[in-house]
Symmetry: C2
Subunit: 140 residues, 2 copies
Amino acid sequence: MTSPLPSAAITSEKANLEEGLAFSPKFDSHGLITCVTIEHSTSEVLMLAHMDDEALRLTIETGIVHYFSRSRQALWRKGDTSGQVQTLVTLLTDCDQDALVARVSVGGDGKACHTGRKSCFYRSVKRGENGVLALEFTQN
Amino acid sequence: MTSPLPSAAITSEKANLEEGLAFSPKFDSHGLITCVTIEHSTSEVLMLAHMDDEALRLTIETGIVHYFSRSRQALWRKGDTSGQVQTLVTLLTDCDQDALVARVSVGGDGKACHTGRKSCFYRSVKRGENGVLALEFTQN
């Protein structure tokens, strides 16, 4: 008879992760965790970005949202050049603690996208009659 | 003198990706794209998951949200066992087309999390007076 301990240990770890009060963010193989950023007052999704351990720590310590820029491979304090500083209202984690939701209020002109739009999600996917997919702008 | 073409080509590709009407989802090195799923009627974030090419195609073709389960390494038609089927209302892509937002209406009991909660984001991160981080439930 094999010991029941291994599967019991797995169950217990999963229960701690999902039902516990310990914050154990799970970073991926690149050391990053995905963060969905929401405008607190409207619940609009502004952007999706990533944090490394340092960006997450600074976000929590300072109350100003920091990310890790994958394109620049550098810490990124959002708004440093644009004035669109994101002040953290609430930081949430999901069941298995491998994703975050940051509810924020945005400084400056209140926008988040580098294209000059409020949200990065400004196009929807449409399926034409011929089955061809195309995008349609939902913000200008 | 070096040719200006390479950087011009890069600029043009970036402009097409960000301002064009062609849907060009950018899958990561595992063939996946991140999807944030939102309850359309309330704008509440329900979950964050991933789609591969097939899951994305089926989502668009059927109007029922499909994901790729990283833990099971398999196509996952959300709600098949739970009844919590997600009907797509709008699918949005972001500026660089490496993330999706699915606005959905949820069937069954209207929940999305396998723990029995409506949203996977049911705990917030709190910083204690001693600087220690802990989680606090925002849903039971």
